[in-house]
């Protein structure tokens, strides 16, 4: 009896180990789907449907995405004549791309109340890192700003210096005085400009930079990093490690 029980346990244990392994394999498989790869060739006859938001969700029948409920879209088949290149459903490349020419030269104010033209005074001819904040934000903005401060302290010196910019997503509340107070709370040094201004102009700017939101609490913890001269733009998570951000910023600055 006893022996039987223990062998039972061993078997259950073995099953669990196998299951665990299977899980690990499962997740590994999923991971490979996320990484950008050319999708495997589909059988020419079969139609393939994919979610516009979740390219990894595919089906051979029309239907809804189990993740977001959007209607699945027919993926054009490469083997069919006239449909063009073998494109994945919707990739990051299809999201609005950033280019220097898209940045409007709107009138803004810095934390000292000085009037500036955003593009010509802050971006043109420089490498910039831009984050999006509002001064009454208590949750995600303080660590984001502290991260920026650390980046500023540890950035290697270069000429021209890297320009750090924090743009308010709540310009109606954020007066230059408020921005100044916020900046000094985080000991922001020179070369870091806090930008606010007329709501319409700032909204235009935020939209162009891909950071427009209807509710200030929905703003994404995103950092936009760019080299204006090389017209090289990239985005990073606002709470990434400062060392990682410095690498991305330096790479952008070195981009030719």
């Amino acid at each position: 009896m006893l022996n039987g029980k223990s062998s039972m346990r061993i078997r259950i244990f073995a099953v669990m180990v196998v299951l665990c392994l299977a899980c690990a394999v499962g997740t590994a498989g999923k991971k490979s789907l996320i990484s950008p790869q050319t999708p495997k060739k589909q059988s020419a006859k079969k139609k393939r449907y994919a979610c516009p938001m979740h390219p990894e969700v595919t089906s051979n029948r029309p239907g809804k995405c189990p993740k977001c409920g959007m209607t699945l879209r027919l993926v054009p088949d490469a083997s069919e004549p006239g449909t063009g290149a073998n494109l994945p459903p919707v990739t990051a490349a299809d999201l609005p791309s950033m280019s220097s020419s898209k940045i409007p030269d709107v009138r803004v104010y810095d934390q000292n109340g000085r009037q500036l033209n955003f593009y010509s005074d802050l971006v043109k001819g420089r490498t910039v890192a831009i984050n999006f904040i509002f001064t009454t934000c208590t949750g995600v903005c303080p660590p984001m700003t502290a991260t920026f401060r650390r980046v500023q302290q540890n950035l290697p010196e270069r000429t021209p210096p890297i320009q750090l910019i924090s743009i308010s997503v709540d310009p109606a509340t954020d007066t230059p005085e408020r921005m100044h107070e916020f900046a000094s709370k985080f000991n922001a040094g020179p070369g870091w400009t806090f930008v606010t201004g007329d709501k319409n102009e700032i909204d235009l700017l935020l939209k162009a930079l891909g950071a427009g939101v209807s509710n200030k609490n929905d703003h994404t913890p995103m950092i936009l990093i760019g080299n204006e001269m090389a017209d090289y733009w990239t985005r990073a998570y606002g709470l990434s490690a400062p060392t990682a951000l410095i690498q991305v910023i330096t790479a952008a600055a070195d981009h030719k």
């Binding site: 009454t136 934000c137 208590t138 949750g139 995600v140 903005c141 303080p142 660590p143 502290a146 991260t147 650390r150 509340t173 007066t175 005085e177 408020r178 107070e181 709370k185 985080f186 609490n217 929905d218 703003h219 994404t220 913890p221 709470l239 990434s240 490690a241 400062p242 060392t243 990682a244």
Partner: protein, 530 residues
């Protein structure tokens, strides 16, 4: 008999048990223990009451920032429910939620058994839940002293259950500060009467969300420091939620800073010197523009009139803290209106040499004078000017006094005064409501202006209490007030507040003086300051 007893006993027992059950709820209403009070400071401000260091370490890289920048309440809210921001949804951390006996499953699938005190310690200091899972990486790991951690955990047990002072399930306690002796005693009495009457009327209609509004009073003193001490003592003794329509004239600085320090909302105090400098005092909401705002309105008015905007202005004033601020405001407003910045001529109050002032200003070709002083001094200035046959335009941003009517006739139509409100603001409905209250409660017939101000203050507070909702807190009251947009009191210009705006009606009316008919005439409609 015996059988009756049989029924009485169980009934009595049920009552006893009910009492036993009710007592923990009653306890919840009691005030916080000293440890919980210290813990609340750590939760809300991220600072230690014993001035020890509290540090927060955020993210993978353990970025070190001061605890004050990432206080618990910043993300989890004063109520512990969690405020969504930037795609991050902080957990509900009220103890009744965290200690559910069957544990918790979070929306992201994270599961863990109920929190214990040790569990909370680990969550705060190591960022792990009771099952050892890592918490979201935006939840910092805090380094704080053992005592601070104990206090914080003690407060977490009370989180969401400790109401602000002056609020209970059935009561809201508000207060007003009025003079009760000296020359202003009668005015104080009138303000007291109208405030009591207003809230008694509110209570007769069912109160605010079934809460009875109780009004308390505190005396102002002869000196500003005395008034501050009175109010401070009063706030320590009486549990007061907010102060409404208090007479703070003369002790603005002292009281307003006290309100900020004690975090007591102060609604529509009676003063002509609102303290609206930066940084903003979040607790204090004013009704009307003060001297500074009225001075700005006068400049905007002049800039809009072809015959006045070409005037060569000068500012005549006796330097003191107040007049100096107003003089600066006048200069700034001139710049905003693209007028040349007027030179200043200063004098000492009590020894104003009007003749000399007139001589100098006339010589330098000035033809407009912005006068910041008392009406008597302004009159002597005009009389001296008349002697030289010089009649410049005179701007007076002070509360109009009827003495101005004795100015030399040559100044008829050349004197401009500003008023922060006018009888034109009183709607039939608004004044009708006030009259009905006055009749019902036999309000004093004197000091009607002070009564109207106190009445408007009470009306704004009552409206804000309604908008703040049943789940009331001082923060919610402030947010409700910040949402006021063109609220009609029926007695004042429309009231608008905002995150950066603490004066309800920013602007003024300009009136001029017809010296032949001895009357004041309106010279403008409502002027919104640029």
């Amino acid at each position: 008999m015996k059988s009756l007893e049989k029924y009485v006993w169980p009934t009595a027992l049920v009552f006893l048990m009910a009492l036993g059950v009710a007592s923990p709820a009653a306890l919840a209403q009691t005030s916080l223990t000293p440890s919980e009070i210290r813990g609340k400071q750590i939760y809300v401000q991220g600072t230690s009451p014993s001035a020890k260091e509290i540090l927060a370490y955020v993210g993978e890289s353990s970025l070190e920032i001061p605890g004050a920048s990432m206080a618990c309440a910043n993300c989890h809210g004063l109520d512990g429910l969690g405020k969504s921001e930037g795609g991050i949804n902080p957990s509900d951390i009220r103890s009744e939620f965290l200690t559910k006996p069957y544990g918790l499953t979070h929306p992201d699938g994270r599961k863990h058994p109920p929190y214990t005190e040790r569990g909370l310690e680990l969550a705060i200091t190591r960022g792990t839940d009771p099952a050892g899972n890592r918490l979201l990486n935006v939840m910092p790991r805090y380094a704080m002293s053992r005592d601070d951690l104990t206090d914080l955990i003690a407060y977490l047990g009370r989180l969401g259950k400790d109401a602000d002072p002056g609020i209970s399930e059935s009561n809201i306690v508000i207060a007003t500060a009025v003079p009760s002796s000296g020359p202003l005693a009668e005015m104080g009495q009138a303000i007291r009467a109208v405030t009591t009457a207003f809230f008694d009327n509110v209570n007769k209609q069912g109160g605010v969300f079934n809460r009875h509004v109780e009004v308390k009073f505190v005396e102002t003193a002869e000196t500003a420091a005395g008034t501050r001490a009175n109010v401070e003592r009063f706030l320590a003794d009486a549990n007061v939620f907010a102060i409404c329509g208090a007479v703070i004239a003369g002790s603005e600085k002292e009281l307003v800073s006290l309100m900020a320090q004690k975090e007591v909302p102060l609604i529509a105090p009676l003063t002509i010197f609102p303290q609206t400098g930066f940084p903003l005092n979040r607790q204090v909401f004013y009704l009307l523009s003060g001297m500074e705002g009225q001075a700005r309105a006068l400049i905007d008015f002049a800039a809009g009139k072809p015959e006045l905007k070409t005037l060569a202005l000068a500012i005549v004033y006796s330097p003191g803290e107040v007049n100096a601020t107003v003089a600066e405001a006048v200069k700034e407003q001139c710049k905003k209106n693209r007028l040349s910045v007027p030179p200043t001529y200063s004098y000492k109050t009590g020894s104003f040499d009007a003749a000399e002032a007139v001589k100098q200003l006339k010589q330098t070709g000035r033809d407009g004078v912005f006068f910041l002083g008392n009406t008597g001094e302004a009159l002597s200035f005009m009389r001296e000017a008349e002697k030289l046959g010089w009649f410049p335009s005179i701007f007076l941003p002070s509360p109009g006094s009827a003495e101005v009517l004795s100015a030399p006739a040559g100044f008829s139509g050349k004197i401009f005064l500003s008023l922060p409100t006018s009888p034109a603001d009183q709607t039939t409905e608004g004044i009708g409501e006030f009259r009905a209250l006055a009749e019902k409660y036999k309000l004093p017939t004197k000091h009607v202006a002070a009564q109207l101000s106190a009445y408007s203050a009470a009306k704004i507070l009552a409206e804000a209490l309604k908008r703040a909702g049943k789940d009331l807190s001082r923060e919610k009251l402030i947010q409700a007030l910040e949402g006021f947009y063109e609220y009609q009191t029926g007695l004042t210009p429309a009231i608008t507040y905002g995150p950066n705006r603490r004066i309800g009606a920013i602007g003024a009316y300009v009136i001029t003086v017809d010296l032949k008919r001895q009357q004041f005439l309106p010279a403008s409609g409502w002027i919104n300051i640029k």
